[in-house]
């Protein structure tokens, strides 16, 4: 029996010593090939007596299994080592920069993003979005909105005019989004619930004014909506838009020709640090104008003010964008400087939703 043990030790030693797959194959042939040492031993089983075979058979077969197993294991190890060696030579510098995906390079302008945010909030409250032309008539921009001819209230709007037509009519660039209130009330019957974003124009240009800017207007007309509802809607809007749990708002009586009563709304904030924080602090910041739609405006679109009533509000989109996102200068909005646009702009896939948060 010591012969078998000795052979086993020899073969396992040879397997372990095989330095590559070829050497290992030679060991396998020498042991398990047709003329291999183990194969030869197996052949002797045929000539044995049943008793002998019963004794030696398991031992010889056991030797075969052990050697086979050892070879398999060794081959596996040799292959892995060879692959390791090969891969070790095959490297790239993974610190090399990759190209940014187009969606990473592109940006959405803050004005577009904020319009999408506003739309998300008001759509949730059941408002539709209305729009109108930038080039307007005097009727839609002023007269229908209860601006008397030659009244100083018209002077407060530094209006861009076109040259008078042969019939004397003089078109203008709308100075506010309010003409769309008139167009909406002419086109549809109450109840009306719309928000109206758009470009507006005034011939004014300095640190805080640009000749073109953006406004968003809201209009509700039905038979019972009153100032209390307006207060609630604006508070809900401000909380959702500025993404804070609470805002303190201050309604101050004011004057607009197209609303009565008219109010201006301030929002409480803290401007002591470099940025504006809402819901805290001692400063009041004016953010919008609003009021109950003036009876004359209702009459001008053929609605009976004793039957219908409602409210409207308007605010600067650029302004609330600046308040929320901290751009210091309005003029930069329209300068198309890619440094500014990349910094203050939004990723194309950052689509504002109420479910996911407007800006988070």
């Amino acid at each position: 029996m010591s012969d078998l043990k000795k052979l086993e030790a020899e073969l396992l030693g040879a397997v372990a010593a095989a330095g590559d797959e070829a050497a290992l194959e030679a060991v396998r042939v020498a042991a398990l090939g047709k003329k291999g040492s183990v194969s030869e031993l197996l052949k002797t089983l045929g000539a044995m007596t049943p008793v002998e075979r019963k004794e030696k058979g398991p031992l010889i077969n056991g030797l075969k299994d052990k050697v086979t197993e050892a070879i398999t294991a060794r081959r596996d190890a040799l292959r892995k080592a060879a692959m390791r060696q090969q891969l070790a030579a095959d490297t790239v510098d993974v610190t090399l920069p990759v190209r940014a995906a187009p969606a990473e390079r592109g940006r959405i302008h803050p004005v577009s993003q904020v319009i999408d945010e506003i739309t998300a909030i008001f759509a949730d409250m059941g408002f539709a979005v209305a729009e109108g032309p930038d080039i307007e008539t005097d009727f839609y921009n002023f007269t229908a909105l209860n601006f008397p001819p030659d009244h100083p209230a018209r002077d407060m709007h530094d209006t861009f005019f076109f040259n008078p037509k042969p019939d004397g009519e003089r078109l203008l660039l709308r100075t506010h989004t309010s003409p769309v209130q008139i167009r909406t009330m002419q086109a549809q019957k109450p109840p009306i619930k719309v928000v109206i974003p758009g470009r507006t124009y005034r011939c004014d240009s300095d640190q805080t004014h640009t000749p073109m800017f953006h406004q968003v207007e809201g209009l509700v007309i039905d038979k019972s909506s009153h100032l209390g509802h307006l207060k609630w809607i604006l508070a809900e809007f401000c909380k959702a838009f500025f993404e804070v749990d609470d805002v303190k708002m201050r309604f101050r009586p004011s004057f607009f020709p197209f609303t009565e009563p008219s109010m201006e709304v301030d929002i409480q904030c803290d401007r002591s640090g470099g940025e504006v924080r809402f819901g805290e602090g001692n400063d009041w910041l004016e953010i919008l104008g609003c009021g109950m739609v003036h009876p004359n405006v209702l009459r001008n679109v053929g609605l009976d003010p004793d039957e219908y009533q409602g409210f409207a509000w308007g605010m600067g989109i650029d302004r609330i964008a600046m308040l929320k996102y901290g751009m210091p200068d309005l003029r930069a909005f329209f300068e198309a400087d890619v440094r500014w646009l990349r910094h203050y702009g939004f990723r194309p896939l950052d689509f504002p939703t109420l479910a996911g948060g407007l800006s988070i």
């Binding site: 090399l96 920069p97 592109g106 207060k231 194309p348």
Partner: protein, 805 residues
């Protein structure tokens, strides 16, 4: 509207603090824009006496003064004022004091080697006026060492209220006091004005002469006061005027200014000696001119209302008086005018002549008609007090219009319109406190607004008054029910397209810009615009004069500006309005891209893995197609036709259309002449898609997508290379191949394009891969060969192609 706290208290008996008054004003709609507490800023300045003033040893114009400041030993001060002299009482600032007019904090210094321990100041240095001719001269009795501000009545807060255009009554301190009293912040001191009987008939007559034209002057009251002594007004009057930034002139002029600010009642005074004959109120005649009190000469026309005498025009009605007939210190007989004017006409005239005056500001907003005569009486009283004299009777031309009106006011309207619960008692009280007469006891009362509140026209105005006075904070925030309507999309097709186009382009690596809606005239002409109807009459600048016909010029210029800043490879887009005409339907929405330098979609600029190369027509085409796909255009039906608008390179541009009449957009590289005209450097590739031109999507009854058909059989692909004339489009080759077997061929892809060596000049090689998708059974080689032969035949026939061996 500026006034001081003490001025307000002349009309309001109140114990409220400045802060309470400021808060209340803002909360009743009289927004306080600023409060200037000058007592604080002027506190360090004290009365001092110059003991001696000797010439400076090293400077001719300077003096070395010893000054008694009331605090210890005299102080040495170097002073340059010509009026610095021994015995003078002036205003002293010690080292450490901030000098507002110079924006410096004073230190101890040496001026030309002489030490100076403080400063004697001028009015300009305290920002009291622009007088810097010398140091302030105080009276003999000024107490040395005491604060200067208190002595001069300057220790009074100055409030500046932004009065809205509807509140003409609050352009006088008395109106503001009335509002505060109504809001329960004090009691109004409303002393009746006693008429002063005339001692003789007014020698000057007044005629309103408007002929057949509409009258511009409802009423004109006049009285002469003779034997006056005009001169500087008393200190209290001068202080009041100075405090609100007006310059005291002489007593007669100061009185008109005081009444303008005190009662919102502008008046005018003529030197009677300079008025020739009677006064006529009329329209100016063409060519008439007036040298006004501001020293400027104005050309007048018949839309302008004037006051004339025997010599000609003497005054611009309601706006500004004339220099010739103005009062001076030598005036002894004065004519005082208190009139009413057409507000719209005053506004028009003021705008036309470019005159902003306190009188115009009030008349165009509307003054209280019933105060025309009381205003004149009050002026008379002040003139008699300050200047003496003897008044004539008052002459009145025209008549004071009846401004009374009655509004039926259901008290419940307050709650209906505002949500505020107000009792009948408090509603009535608020209205009455504002000067309304409230009659009747039922639910609907009759309200007569006061004559000074022309802005109160109806029920809604009365609700505003009640809410304002009772407090807006009492309006309860009330949840606004969205109702039970189904949650449906609220955006219109064009709104959805606009936002989809923006996101698609940003996802293509472009950065969204917002550029001006107006561009220069040459630029509009370059881009197919130039319609005269779209030129602004009053542009803010020549390069922002015309409504844009395309977004390309604005974006191309912006790209160049970025390049000038060092960012040569920029990709910008804008989705915005363009204008083909001035009607609403002429305004369209363009989605426009501009790529410059090496700002390609897949890659930008230089990179270790390979540089991007210059932008070209295909980058622009990809952008346009991305917009169209995102906006829901039928992408598979779009036709690409070579050649675009004239501002594009003719051989490197194309149109995207659905048939020749429906062009959705175009793309390409800018024409070299366009680059030159815009003064920008290429390469610039642009695309523009008009979102309104995309056909409206068909309404679908359900949201179910069509069933997906998957074939169990493997698709087969075969490659072909054809040599065609250079002018044959790839599209023609692809369409020819597709037509060979519409059922079996599912895709034809161009995978190679070659011109050059091995290909005859004027020809090109196009290689296509055709994919066959069997549906019933696997194709045999013979069947595949048959289709291949048909493809070759079709392409050869339709494009005169030759199959490459």
């Amino acid at each position: 509207m500026k006034f001081t706290l003490s001025w307000l208290k002349k009309h309001l008996d109140t114990g409220a603090s400045l802060e309470e008054i400021v808060d209340k004003l803002t909360m009743i709609g009289l927004e306080v824009e600023s409060v200037e507490d000058r007592a604080k800023a002027l506190a360090p300045f004290t009365v001092a006496k110059v003991i001696s003033a000797e010439k400076h040893p090293n400077a001719d114009r300077l003096k070395v003064c010893m000054v008694d400041t009331g605090a210890g030993a005299p102080v040495q001060v170097v002073c340059g004022a010509p009026n610095a002299r021994a015995g003078l009482k002036s205003v002293f600032a010690a080292p450490g004091t901030y000098i507002p007019g110079k924006k410096i904090t004073l230190g101890v210094g040496k001026i030309r080697d002489v030490e100076s321990r403080g400063m004697l100041v001028s009015e300009a240095e305290l920002m009291l006026s622009d007088n810097h001719d010398g140091i302030i001269e105080l009276g003999e009795d000024a107490p040395v060492g005491k604060p200067f501000a208190a002595l001069m009545g300057l220790d009074d807060a100055v409030l500046d209220v932004a009065v809205t255009p509807n509140r003409a009554d609050c352009l006088g301190v008395s109106g503001i006091a009335r509002d505060l009293a109504a809001a329960r912040l004090g009691d109004l001191k409303d002393k009746p004005i006693k008429p002063i009987p005339g001692k003789f008939p007014c020698p000057v007559k007044v005629k309103l002469e408007f002929g057949a034209t509409p009258s511009l002057c409802p009423a004109f009251a006049l009285r002469l006061i003779r034997g006056v002594k005009n001169g500087p007004s008393p200190d209290w009057a001068q202080q009041k005027l100075r405090a609100i930034g007006l310059r005291p002139i002489n007593a007669l002029v100061d009185i008109t200014n005081l009444l303008t600010y005190d009662r919102a009642r502008p008046l005018h005074v003529f030197d009677a000696a300079k008025v020739k004959g009677d006064l006529v109120v009329r329209r100016a005649k063409p060519g008439e001119k007036l040298l006004a009190l501001d020293g400027r000469t104005y050309e007048l026309d018949p839309d302008i209302c004037v006051i004339a005498d025997g010599r000609g025009v003497e005054s611009l009605a309601g706006i500004m008086g004339g220099e010739e007939s103005g009062v001076s210190e030598s005036t002894t007989d004065v004519l005082v005018e208190s009139a009413l004017w057409e507000p719209a006409n005053i506004a028009q005239t003021g705008r036309k002549l470019g005159i902003v005056s306190d009188a115009r500001f009030r008349f165009e907003r509307g003054v209280d008609p019933q105060f025309t005569l009381p205003g004149l009486e009050l002026a008379t009283q002040l003139i008699l007090e300050m200047c003496g004299g003897e008044p004539s009777e008052v002459v009145l031309a025209g008549e004071i219009p009846d401004s009374s009106r009655v509004i039926d006011f259901p008290l419940g309207h307050v709650k209906k319109l505002s949500g505020l619960e107000a009792s009948a008692t408090e509603t009535r009280r608020a209205l009455e406190a504002l000067g309304c007469v409230v009659a009747g006891a039922g639910e609907t009362v009759k309200v007569s607004p006061p004559s000074w509140r022309a802005d109160i026209e109806g029920k809604a105005d009365l609700v505003e008054e009640v809410v304002r006075i009772l407090g807006v904070e009492r309006v309860p925030s009330t949840p606004f029910e969205r109702g039970e309507a189904a949650r449906k999309p609220v955006l219109t097709t064009i709104q959805k397209r606009t936002r989809a186009a923006k996101r698609a382009l940003a996802a293509n690596g472009l950065v969204e810009a917002v550029t001006w809606s107006f561009i220069s005239k040459p630029q509009t002409e370059l881009f197919g615009g130039g319609n005269a109807a779209l030129a602004l009459a009053n542009p803010i600048a020549a390069e922002l004069s015309d409504m844009r016909p395309s977004l390309v010029p604005g974006l191309a210029l912006a790209a160049q500006k970025n390049a000038d800043r060092g960012f040569a490879d920029v990709a910008l887009f804008e989705v915005g309005q363009i204008f083909a005409g001035d009607r609403p339907e002429d305004q369209l929405t363009a989605a426009t891209t501009v790529r410059r330098g090496a700002a390609k979609a897949a890659a930008t600029g230089r990179h270790w893995s390979g540089s991007a190369g210059a932008v070209d027509a295909f980058d622009a085409k990809a952008d346009a197609l991305a917009v169209l796909a995102a906006a829901g255009a039928p992408v598979e039906k779009l036709q690409i036709v070579p050649g675009g608008p004239e501002f594009l390179h003719p051989g490197r541009s194309g149109k995207i259309q659905l048939g020749p009449k429906l062009i959705l957009g175009w793309f390409g590289e800018l024409h070299p002449a366009t680059l030159e005209a815009l003064d920008v450097e290429g390469p610039i590739a642009v695309s523009e898609v008009i979102l309104e031109r995309i056909p409206e999507p068909k309404a679908r009854p359900t949201r179910t997508k069509p069933k997906l058909e998957l074939s169990p059989f493997q698709p087969v692909s075969r490659d072909f290379a054809f040599v065609v004339d250079r002018g044959v489009t790839a599209d023609a080759v692809v369409r020819a191949a597709e037509s060979a077997d519409k059922a079996l061929i599912v895709a034809v892809d161009v995978f190679d394009l070659y011109e050059g060596k091995g290909i005859e000049a004027g020809k090109k090689s196009i290689a296509i891969a055709v994919t066959l998708q069997p549906r019933e059974k696997t194709l045999t080689d013979a069947e595949i060969d048959a289709v291949a032969a048909k493809i070759v035949a079709e392409v050869t026939k339709r494009t005169s192609a030759v199959l490459r061996a």
